[in-house]
């Protein structure tokens, strides 16, 4: 995910020619009027987006080989308005689009509205600077096209839900007359800064996957099965991992507090006191809006130039 947002494309070396030729044949882009030059440009754009500037030939080859080139060619041909490509796309994905929306929204009218909206984005009913903006042009083939559609629908659903929630919440506040009430800040719990520092230190030593498991389970209240599916492991693995993480974190925090001059008993008391005083309203905190609406940037970039 390095060097996100670089759209200028990456020049390919001549040594890649046979490899790129093979990819082009595999993509069957010719059937959709996608020329070899256009195909190379697409690959260069994708390589520029996902690889660092100094990436070698092997990295480029590895990335390009991992792409779903056939689906990529289809999506880009659709974006270019190729009629036959659209026919194929609709045959393969139109029904799925509505099925996916129905599964996510779980309410038929809402699902249909969501699917219609995505379909319009995919078709490119909006224009920017005189150019038709087609969402399919942002598909890069890193996963399946169907999976990408699922993610795009999920993303739109989360955006809508968040917008709707904000509106409802303001309306409700207005009705209840609390919109302009004086702020009633939560009483700040007296958390020992040494406990926070020791906890942060212990958390920073965890791998990204371990942290993901923790936040998914404790903050998002996901089930073991859901987390296991996301990480492609058995749910018993997640269960064991959580148990192990809870124990080791406690141990590390206690050790960290020891390093900060607390005796074992004081350290344990600090943890316990903290637990009692905090009185965390985890659920309440979870529904708080983040300071930075995550997708606002993306929405502004209607063409779908999304990058980390």
């Amino acid at each position: 995910m390095s060097n996100r947002g670089v759209q200028s494309g990456m020049a390919f070396q001549a040594g890649l020619e046979p490899f790129l030729k093979g990819l082009y044949q595999k993509s069957r882009g010719e059937e959709f009027g996608l020329t070899r030059e256009s195909f190379d440009r697409i690959l260069q754009e994708i390589a520029g987006k996902y690889l660092p500037a100094g990436a070698g030939q092997a990295d480029i080859e590895q990335l390009c080989a991992s792409l779903r080139v056939e689906e990529l060619a289809l999506a880009r041909a659709c974006a270019a308005g190729h009629e036959r490509a659209w026919e194929i796309f609709l045959t393969r994905y139109r029904a799925k689009l509505y099925d996916i929306a129905a599964r996510i929204v779980r309410e038929s009218a809402g699902a249909r509205e969501l699917a219609d909206s995505i379909y319009a984005d995919l078709y490119g009913t909006t224009t920017r600077e005189g150019q038709r903006v087609c969402k399919l042009a942002s598909y890069t083939g890193r996963g399946s096209l169907e999976g990408w559609l699922r993610t795009v629908i999920a993303q739109e659903y989360v955006n809508r839900y968040r917008r709707q929630r904000r509106l409802v919440s303001l309306d409700e506040e207005s009705e209840e007359g609390v919109q302009f009430a004086a702020a009633n800040p939560e009483p700040v719990a007296p958390v020992d800064s040494r406990v926070e520092a020791a906890t942060d230190e212990a958390l920073s030593e965890l791998s990204a996957e371990d942290k993901f498991v923790l936040v998914s389970y404790y903050l998002d209240s996901r089930t073991l099965a859901e987390i296991a599916r996301l990480l492609h492991v058995h749910e018993s693995t997640i269960s064991r991992k959580l148990d192990k993480l809870a124990k080791s974190l406690r141990k590390r925090i206690l050790a960290g507090l020891g390093k900060r001059g607390l005796s074992r008993r004081q350290a344990e008391e600090a943890l316990e006191v903290d637990v009692r005083d905090l009185g965390l309203n985890i659920r309440g905190r979870l529904v708080q809006e983040t300071a930075h609406p995550p997708f606002s940037k993306k929405k502004a970039e209607a063409a779908g130039d999304r990058s980390v």
Binding site: G143, T151, V158, L203, D220, H234
Partner: protein, 373 residues
């Protein structure tokens, strides 16, 4: 599960929120496990900070594992389908008629059926090999044919239900097993079906199909291991259970299937170590393997276990993980060096490897020779 100190939850919540977000391609690639390790770690790092992206990733999961769906459909798991209903009705009729016949014989003082012991069953096996005239009606059956009936046959035929073929075959009975009143066999077959059904529901990764038990690729890649020999010496071949007519007493069959349910299951942990569970996944033991571990692919069928990982690391055990042999696939003088992404074996001889570089390696002789496709 150990309790997590609440300060940890608080600090996790207060982690700086990400401002820029991954594109749908990356989230989808993460869900579909097609990201390279570096990108995956970066994305996971983002996900720990971004509840919205976690929600999107969770919603992006396909409803069911595609592989499970495909195999389940192949196995004909739809209980309300017409063929299933039709054959179920026939099987139910067979059970009713069988019960009536049993009661009839009991009233005549014929206790032979009830007195059949395991030794009688084994004699029935021998008897089945010899041609005998087919009985023309239920009442005309002799004791030998009754023994044969009780011995029945194990025919896990999914939807085929050959057991329900009530009309007596004109060919010698022993050639094709139970003729005429095959009700005990039918009842046993139903028990077997229930056992298979229980297997299917208890573990999504294992489904029954026409070939018996099939390991569904993907997900945790759990697999059933072959059960030990049954009390009668009849062996239930893991993954190859069906298509073999094995003479077993009803009790032996039930115990054999009970054994199947409690068979070891296999999985790979998130750090790539091989693990086995003997209690249907409640607890898992790490199995020591040669090499560095960090496996990414697993195939298990009976005692045949294959694990594969980075840089073409491939190991095979033919004794359920006790001993391991490194395997180096070579085709046309070129050795497999890419990371192994998946292993599938349709039977102990025939298997396919795929690599992260989209190579496919095929063997038809338990890994002795390989062909690159």
């Amino acid at each position: 599960m150990a309790e997590l100190p609440k300060i940890v939850v608080q600090r996790l919540q207060s982690t700086a929120k990400a401002e820029v977000h991954p594109d749908p391609d990356l989230i989808n690639a993460f869900v579909e496990r097609s990201l390279n390790p570096r990108d995956r770690d970066q994305l996971l790092e983002h996900l720990t900070q971004c509840p919205d992206c976690r929600e999107i990733a969770a919603l992006s999961l396909p409803e069911l594992d595609a592989a499970t769906t495909v195999v389940a459909v192949k196995a004909g798991s739809g209980w309300l389908r017409w063929p299933v209903l039709r054959w179920s009705a026939v099987a139910a009729c067979a059970v009713i008629v069988g019960t009536a016949v049993t009661l009839h014989y009991q009233s005549r003082g014929d206790r032979q059926v009830a007195q059949l012991s395991d030794s009688a069953v084994s004699s029935a096996v021998e008897q089945k090999k010899e041609p005998s005239p087919a009985p023309t009606s239920i009442d005309q059956q002799d004791a030998a044919s009754k023994q044969e009936e009780v011995a029945g046959r194990v025919e896990n035929s999914g939807q085929r239900n050959e057991i329900a073929s009530l009309p007596a075959p004109s060919a010698p009975a022993a050639q094709t097993a139970a003729p005429a009143s095959i009700m005990p066999g039918a009842a046993d077959a139903m028990q077997e079906r229930r056992a298979k059904s229980a297997l299917k529901t208890s573990n999504e990764a294992v489904v029954a199909d026409d070939n018996g038990l099939a390991v569904v690729p993907g997900r945790a890649k759990d697999a059933l291991q072959q059960s030990p020999a049954s009390p009668n010496g009849a062996t239930v071949a893991g993954g190859m259970l069906a298509k073999q007519k094995v003479a077993m007493s009803p009790s032996a069959r039930v115990s054999a299937f009970a054994g199947l349910v409690s068979m070891p299951r296999w999985t790979l942990s998130s750090d790539g170590t091989l693990q086995r569970s003997s209690d249907s996944g409640r607890s898992w033991q790490t199995i020591s393997t040669p090499g560095q571990g960090n496996f990414r692919a697993l195939a298990a069928s009976g005692p045949e276990i294959w694990v594969g990982g980075a840089k073409g690391a491939l190991y095979h055990s033919s004794d359920a993980g006790t001993h391991w042999v490194p395997v180096q696939p070579v085709a046309s003088g070129q050795a497999l060096t890419a990371d192994i992404a998946s292993i599938e074996f349709t039977d102990p001889q025939h298997g396919t490897l795929t690599t992260t570089e989209h190579e496919t390696w095929v063997t038809a002789d338990s890994g002795q020779t390989w062909e690159k496709k």
